[in-house]
Each structure stands twice: as structure tokens, then as C-alpha cells.
């Protein structure tokens, strides 16, 4: 019995020691909390916080980048005009830099009677028919640096464009029909040499604008441009002149004199000097979607949400383009209510919105 009591006592002692040990370990790991802050201390912190917030708002107000005119919306996107300018510039110059003008199966002709002084009187010595059968002219455009202007709902653009380079291939149909005495010494001449040439660089100015508008959930820059009339001039290359000169050189002396009178080179330059019209249609300018937009649906952990997006107004400032949308979310299958936006403002959207009434009831302790 005594042994049993001793055992019980030992166990009790052991349990008490274990309890004391556990308590000391717990106390070491979880020291007592400091006393809670007094109301005055909290008030001082709140005042400091509000003063800092006011100071930040004052800093923002110094240059709010058009935020004060931005629409009130649940989601607001501010696209810098610099970014818009960069996008417009690169898209427009990129497209023009990849533009080829190709003219095919063109014909140009000139017909002229040639007169010369024979003995005492000027007489017709022949008639030249010159027809240039152009198989193809290919011209490449080269844009210069555009000038952009932002204003209203538009971004205006002035773009220098050069028909910079290119080549052409043609068959020259030259027919010399001698008349009178010339007929006896020269006869008729008909040649059809193949000639080629290069496009003469010419400069043009494209002017128009992109109109900002909201399309779905994005801002789209819609082009407003007129067709551009371009005239392509081709200059025969030196090889082609040689071909023409060869036609003359192969004739007899008297005949050469008659053909020199014709001046085939001048006639050809005259034919080609008028140039060829090409219309660059305004549809070369495509709508450009600005890169940020509100999504219509999203998926999270296998849950697909349909978002009802209601675009609000668009505002454009020198620094930014603001686009807003109110959003209402619903799981697929569940109906969405009216789009949810920002808290109602007491007038036109002020920069920034009115202060919240109170901080959320937040974490008692971290």
C-alpha cells in the first residue's frame, strides 16, 4: 500500500513538473501582450494618417494628368498619349513602309508629224508613232516622321510619304512613217525594243486623323483619311537609251538626220514625263486597338465568369486618354445585375474620389 502511495505521489509530482515545464515553454513562446493603446494614442495616429493622405492628394493634384476629367467608373484605364503616339506612329509608318504600288499593262503614246526645211520650204518628212507598252511598274513607299496632334476626340496626323524607289519594264513600239523625199532615202522604220527604267522619287503629304471611340471593351482608333492620289514617274535607264540610240544609229546618214529631227529620246521622255496615276485608298489605314481593355469574361479555378461591361465616357487630356467601364460579374448561367461602378460622386468626378467614411473593420491582430 505504501509503495502504491509512493508511486501515486511520484506520478503527481511528475505531472506537476510537466505542467510547470509546459507553462514555461508556452509563456516563452507566447509572451503576454502589451497593454492595448489608449484612445488618445489611436486619435493621434488617425490624425497623422489623414494628414498624410491629404498631402498625397495635394501632390497628385499638382499634375493629375487629366484624372479630374476622367469618367467615374468601376475600372478606369489611363493610356498615356506618349504611348498612343508611339503606337500610331509605328503602325502608320510600318504599314506605309511595307506598301508597294504595282501598275500593270499601261499604255502611253505620242504621235507627231515631223517637218524639216527642204530646199526653200518646210515640208513634212514623216510621222512618228511612239507607244510605250508598260508591262509593270513597281514603286515602294517610304514614310517620313509623322507629326501628331491630340485634340478633342482625335489624333491628327501629317505624314510625309515618298514614292521612293522602284523599277518598270516596257516595250517601246516606235514606228517612223517617212513622207515625200524622206520616204525615198529612209523608208519606214518600225522597232519594238524592250526598255526598263526606274521610278523617279516624288514626295507627298498624307493628312488625316484617327478618331477615338470605345468599341466593346477597348478603345479603338478609327481612321479618317481621304484617298491619296499619287503620280508615278518613270525614267528610262541608260541601257534603254542605248537601245533607242541604236535604232537611229543603224539607219543611213540621211535617214539618221531625219530621225535626229524626231529626237526619239525627247519624245520618249515626253510620253513618260506625264507620269501614271495611282490611287492609294484610304482603307490602307486600319483601325488600331489600344492595348488595354476590360475583359468580358475570365476564368478562375475552373469557374468561368461572364462580365457585363458597360463602357462609360472617354476623356482625352494632353497627357492621357482615360477610358472607363462599369463591370458586373456573374458565374456562367447566373444572371448579372446592373454593372457595378465606383461609388457615386457628388458632381463631376473629382480628382481623386471622396475619402472613404472609415477604414474597414480590420484584423484585430496579425
Amino acid at each position: 500500500m505504501k509503495r502504491f502511495l509512493k508511486l501515486v505521489l511520484a506520478l503527481a509530482l511528475l505531472a506537476a513538473s510537466a505542467l510547470a515545464l509546459a507553462w514555461s515553454i508556452w509563456s516563452a513562446r507566447h509572451p503576454p501582450l502589451p497593454p492595448p493603446p489608449a484612445a488618445a494614442e489611436l486619435k493621434a495616429l488617425e490624425d497623422r494618417r489623414d494628414a498624410l493622405r491629404a498631402a498625397i492628394l495635394a501632390e497628385i493634384k499638382k499634375d493629375d494628368q487629366g484624372l479630374s476629367k476622367a469618367p467615374r467608373a468601376g475600372i478606369l484605364i489611363g493610356v498615356p498619349t506618349r504611348l498612343t503616339a508611339s503606337i500610331v506612329t509605328q503602325v502608320v509608318t510600318g504599314l506605309f513602309g511595307q506598301t508597294t504600288l504595282t501598275l500593270k499593262d499601261l499604255k502611253a503614246r505620242v504621235s507627231k508629224e515631223v517637218k524639216a526645211k527642204l530646199v526653200v520650204k518646210k515640208r513634212t518628212i514623216g510621222k512618228i508613232d511612239l507607244e510605250v507598252d508598260i508591262h509593270e511598274i513597281r514603286g515602294l513607299l517610304e514614310p517620313g516622321p509623322p507629326k501628331l496632334t491630340f485634340g478633342g476626340n482625335l489624333v491628327g496626323i501629317e505624314l510625309p510619304v515618298r514614292v521612293a524607289s522602284g523599277t518598270g519594264r516596257a516595250t517601246l513600239h516606235a514606228k517612223w512613217d517617212s513622207k515625200g523625199m524622206a520616204n525615198a532615202v529612209c523608208g519606214d522604220v518600225e522597232v519594238h525594243p524592250e526598255v526598263s527604267g526606274s521610278v523617279v522619287p516624288t514626295d507627298y503629304q498624307v493628312a488625316g486623323a484617327f478618331h477615338f471611340k470605345t468599341e466593346g471593351q477597348q478603345i479603338v482608333l478609327t481612321p479618317r483619311f481621304e484617298d491619296l492620289q499619287v503620280r508615278i514617274f518613270v525614267k528610262p535607264d541608260e541601257e534603254s537609251w542605248k537601245v533607242v540610240e541604236q535604232v537611229v544609229a543603224e539607219r543611213g546618214k540621211v535617214c539618221r538626220m531625219a530621225l535626229d529631227k524626231v529626237d526619239l529620246r525627247a519624245q520618249l521622255e515626253k510620253v513618260l514625263g506625264k507620269g501614271f496615276n495611282v490611287k492609294i485608298p484610304s482603307k490602307i489605314f486600319k483601325p488600331v486597338r489600344l492595348p488595354a481593355g476590360v475583359q468580358k469574361s475570365l476564368e478562375l479555378q475552373g469557374v468561368r465568369l461572364t462580365l457585363q461591361v458597360q463602357p462609360t465616357a472617354l476623356s482625352i487630356d494632353a497627357d492621357r486618354l482615360w477610358y472607363g467601364a462599369d463591370v458586373r460579374a456573374a458565374r456562367n448561367g447566373a444572371p448579372a445585375g446592373a454593372p457595378k461602378g465606383a461609388r457615386p460622386a457628388a458632381g463631376p468626378s473629382p480628382p481623386p474620389p471622396p475619402p472613404p467614411e472609415e477604414s474597414p473593420a480590420l484584423p484585430p491582430s496579425p
Partner: protein, 251 residues
């Protein structure tokens, strides 16, 4: 004896530890308020210093999401059930976001239970700060970094509640990892594709203007979460040139 006594003592220690008397709610609230104000003041001071040093950039794309929209989008994905280490099941049922005084906070309410006994659960509240806002595949998303956990109610009895509460509190990072990233319904394109033109004498090659975007910083202020994004555009890539480059690169 030791094999039986040691686990028993450990359980006793946990019980004793869990038996510390709870603080009155007013004291806990006051303590929480102080902590919150201090966090807000710290954030506001940093923001003010940043603004004074360098005014908000005019080059960056800005996205502002109202806390009500954020709350609604997150709320529409709930309830959301996630497993924590295959042993605990966390069911998030309600979420509320607050973007004020530089602190982006999301409060979740839900249930925590063992996977094997889903009927025995803790009603809990979790709070976390908006953290790591980023762009993935052109979509904005945010992670929540948990820093607070509270038991709202329990059907486990005082001891069970305390033990589980401490267990979760000590393993908040695991709970945090289990909560998926919150998707903000704003997309930033990775390029602008422009079609070409091929009719008549004028032909234009299609092309793409590549865009690269990355989140520069965020600010929670006056009910809005502001996300500032660096976007670089270009250079223009003509489709034909791209195709030729791809052909060259192909072995």
C-alpha cells in the same frame, strides 16, 4: 512508461497553452486599429516620399480598379474549396476588398475543416494584403499575402478550436499558397496586329506591333487599386519579314 507519458504530456502542454484566457474584444480591436494605422502611416509616408521624389510617370499605363468591382469579381468566383496539404479543406465563401490609405486588403470568410470530417469545421476570417500584382499572358492578377486569421465560430469545443486555431495561425503560408491568384478583369495586349491590303495596284504587307508590359508598382488609395504598368511598343514587324526570318531559322 515513457512511450505513453511523453505524448500525453505534449497534449497536456498544448491544452495548457490553449487555455490562456482570451483578451476582451475591445482591447483586441484597439490593438488591431493601432496596428492598422501604423501600417497605413508607413505606407502613406513611403508613397508621399516617392511622389515628392518622382511625380507619377506620364509614360506608364494606369489601371484603377474600384474595391467594389474587385469585391464583386472575387465574390462571383466563390464559394471556392481548396485543399491544404490534403488534410485540411478550406472553403472560402465571402470576400471583401478595401483599397485605402495605401493598404490593399482582402477579407475572406469561410470554413476550415479536416478533409475526413467536413461536418466539423471552424468558421474563419482571413485577411491579407494585395501582393505581387503582375501580368501573365497579358492578364492582370494579384496574389493575397495573408497576415491575419481569426476564428469566428466553432463546433469543435474550446480546446479543439484553440489547438486548430494555433495550428492554422502557425501555417498561414500554406493557407496562403492554397488561395489562387485573383484575376483582375483587365487585359494588356502583347501586340497589335494590323491586316494588310492586297487589292488593286496597292498592296500592303500585314504586320504586328509587339508590346511588352510589366507592372511597375501599385497603390491602394481612396477605394481604388491603382496599377502602374510600363508598356514598350515596337519595333514594327512586317509579317513577310517575320515569315522569312522563321524560314531562315528553320534547320
Amino acid at each position: 512508461m515513457s512511450r505513453r507519458v511523453v505524448p500525453a504530456l505534449a497534449l497536456l502542454a498544448a491544452f495548457v497553452g490553449a487555455c490562456r484566457p482570451a483578451e476582451p474584444p475591445e482591447a483586441a480591436q484597439a490593438r488591431a486599429k493601432k496596428l492598422l494605422y501604423e501600417k497605413q502611416i508607413q505606407g502613406l509616408e513611403q508613397t508621399l516620399a516617392r511622389f515628392r521624389q518622382e511625380p507619377p510617370s506620364k509614360r506608364r499605363l494606369l489601371v484603377a480598379v474600384d474595391e467594389q468591382v474587385f469585391t464583386e469579381v472575387v465574390g462571383a468566383t466563390l464559394p471556392l474549396q481548396v485543399a491544404i496539404k490534403d488534410r485540411l479543406s478550406l472553403r472560402l465563401e465571402k470576400a471583401e476588398a478595401y483599397f485605402r490609405y495605401t493598404q490593399g486588403v482582402v477579407l475572406f470568410e469561410g470554413r476550415l475543416a479536416g478533409v475526413e470530417h467536413p461536418d466539423r469545421f471552424l468558421s474563419i476570417r482571413l485577411a491579407g494584403g494585395i501582393d505581387r500584382v503582375g501580368l501573365q499572358d497579358g492578364r492582370l492578377s494579384a496574389h493575397v499575402k495573408l497576415y491575419y486569421f481569426e476564428v469566428l465560430g466553432s463546433g469543435l469545443g474550446e480546446m479543439g478550436r484553440s489547438v486548430l486555431e494555433q495550428l492554422v495561425r502557425d501555417n498561414l503560408p500554406l493557407v496562403e499558397d492554397a488561395i489562387p491568384a485573383i484575376v483582375i478583369p483587365v487585359s494588356v495586349e502583347q501586340g497589335i496586329a494590323i491586316p494588310g491590303l492586297g487589292d488593286g495596284p496597292v498592296s500592303v504587307e500585314p504586320g504586328t506591333l509587339p508590346l511588352s508590359a510589366s507592372v511597375a508598382n501599385t497603390l491602394s488609395l481612396d477605394g481604388r487599386l491603382w496599377v502602374s504598368i510600363d508598356v514598350a511598343a515596337g519595333p514594327w514587324k512586317a509579317a513577310a519579314r517575320e515569315a522569312a526570318a522563321a524560314r531562315t531559322a528553320r534547320p
